[in-house]
């Protein structure tokens, strides 16, 4: 079975990245499973934007892309400044 190299810290980093750049919002109900689905959906959006393989899961390539130097403006047009 392939062992994921993604750590808990990586997952936290990815969550922060998606919140910042792909408008991932916190689920109000902590018991809901929608949170995971939302994260997966946002991961898919991010993977599509950067031309990565769309898996909806946090893999090494996705994590590597997240750690590249970048502009701090959100990649989603709907994430407007106020």
């Amino acid at each position: 079975v392939p062992v994921s190299k993604v750590t808990v810290q990586d997952e936290g980093f990815a969550k922060g990245y998606l919140k910042r750049f792909f408008n991932l919002t916190e689920e109000k109900d902590p018991l809901s499973r929608k949170g995971a689905d939302r994260m997966s959906k946002k991961l898919s959006e991010m993977q599509k934007f950067f031309g990565l393989r769309i898996t909806g899961t946090l893999d090494d390539n996705t994590l590597e892309m997240m750690k590249k130097p970048r502009c701090g403006v959100a990649d989603e047009n709907i994430a407007r400044y106020s």
Binding site: K68, P69, R70, C71, V73, N77, Y81
Partner: protein
């Protein structure tokens, strides 16, 4: 774009003097990087940028660390390099640079401020992020040589969809005017309208390399190919080399100096980066040609023999860059001494150790030492058609 027509409703946009300069660069280098970054957009739009020495400008520019008062804190070294706000009053248009980064003037060690600023000013003017990897507005930083930077077509299309193209003609003019503070800079340049080369077989006027990148010349345009982009970028020659002739007959890079030489008619120009060297253009006779030579058809530096071959009609000369003079025994007939490439050459270049001689819409890959043609291919293959 951000949608909803988010843009400045005027063509003269003000930007601020910088209060807190980054210590990574001299103030002159920061000012020059910012000016050139704005010029990138001014070249292809009717926009002009005016620098204010006091008061509130549309685009306020600052360097800051971590939390800096806009609810979008920076994150220390690497990660987020900068951010900017879309056009609107107050904070709209402002550009902030993370001072925990190491910014450079042109070195690839660190982040080139010009490149980061040009991207951020795209946001300041109303551009969102692009999914095109070769675009300036792609959200991830990638190094490009600032001396050879040309705004990619995706960005040109984006900004021109907001502001239109530059109506002032195909020249670049940068004028420094005066204001009460004596510190006002206005930049105007025309946007290129570029033909579609893929619609018909293309015949190159000239081809040259420059710092590992390739430039294909056709009429008043060039196609600029780099390792960063799979699709060559198109622009006017004059927007890349403002002092170059409108079109060129031949071009080559002298690898010893890194300079590019452009030939047109009975004259030639030498450029270091985008800057023409003093005392140019010179006459072909200064290069060593007899006065009977009216123009050069093609030129290529052959690295394996450290010589530059220059083609005129059905003959070619060999130039010794070290001695700065023509070799003896030339000109020679092309078809006799370089068999397999025909009688005339329109353009020539070296790529990854192989020579390419272009004639009409086709070209020949050539092994110089064996004097053998290896392959024949179409010119347009180099242009991503």
């Amino acid at each position: 774009t951000f949608g909803d027509g988010l843009k400045w409703s005027k063509n003269t946009v003000t930007y601020s003097r910088i209060v807190d300069y980054t210590p990574d660069l001299s103030q002159a280098e920061v000012d020059d990087s910012i000016r050139r970054a704005l010029e990138v957009w001014a070249k292809v739009t009717p926009l002009t940028f005016t620098k204010l020495t006091s008061g509130t400008a549309d685009i306020m520019i600052s360097f800051a660390r971590l939390s800096h008062g806009d609810n979008y804190p920076f994150d220390g070294p690497d990660g987020t390099l900068a951010h900017a706000f879309a056009p609107s009053p107050d904070i709209g248009g402002d550009a902030h640079f993370d001072d925990d980064e190491t910014f450079t003037f042109r070195s690839s060690t660190g982040y080139v401020l010009f490149l980061v600023a040009a991207h951020e000013f795209g946001h300041s003017l109303g551009l969102s992020h692009s999914e095109d990897r070769s675009a300036l507005m792609y959200p991830l930083y990638s190094y490009k040589d600032p001396d050879t930077f040309v705004l990619p077509q995706d960005d040109v299309r984006g900004i021109q969809s907001l502001y239109g193209s530059n109506p002032s003609g195909d020249t670049t003019t940068t004028t420094t005017g005066s204001s009460p503070s004596g510190d006002t800079t206005t930049t105007t340049t025309q946007a290129p309208t570029i033909p579609d080369v893929c619609s018909s077989p293309v015949e190159f006027d000239a081809v040259t390399t420059l710092k590992g990148e390739m430039f294909f010349f056709k009429d008043s345009y060039l196609w600029h190919s780099s390792s960063q982009s799979s699709t060559p970028q198109k622009s006017l020659i004059s927007s890349f080399w403002p002092n170059a002739p409108t079109s060129v007959d031949a071009a080559y890079e002298n690898p010893g100096t890194g300079n590019v030489l452009l030939f047109k008619g009975n004259q030639y120009w030498q450029f270091r980066g985008k800057t023409v060297l003093p005392d140019y253009p010179k006459r072909l006779s200064d290069f060593g040609f007899p006065s009977s030579v009216p123009k050069v058809d093609a030129a290529v530096h052959v690295s394996s023999i450290s010589r530059t071959l220059l083609f005129v009609n059905n003959k070619y000369w060999s130039y010794n860059e070290g001695w700065r003079r023509m070799d003896r025994g030339y000109p020679k007939f092309i078809h006799r001494h370089l068999p397999g490439i025909g009688h005339r050459v329109d353009a020539a270049f070296e790529n990854r150790g192989q020579l390419y001689f272009s004639s009409g819409s086709r070209q020949t890959e050539y092994h110089y030492q064996r004097r053998r043609a290896l392959h024949t291919l179409m010119n347009y293959l180099w242009l991503g058609c």
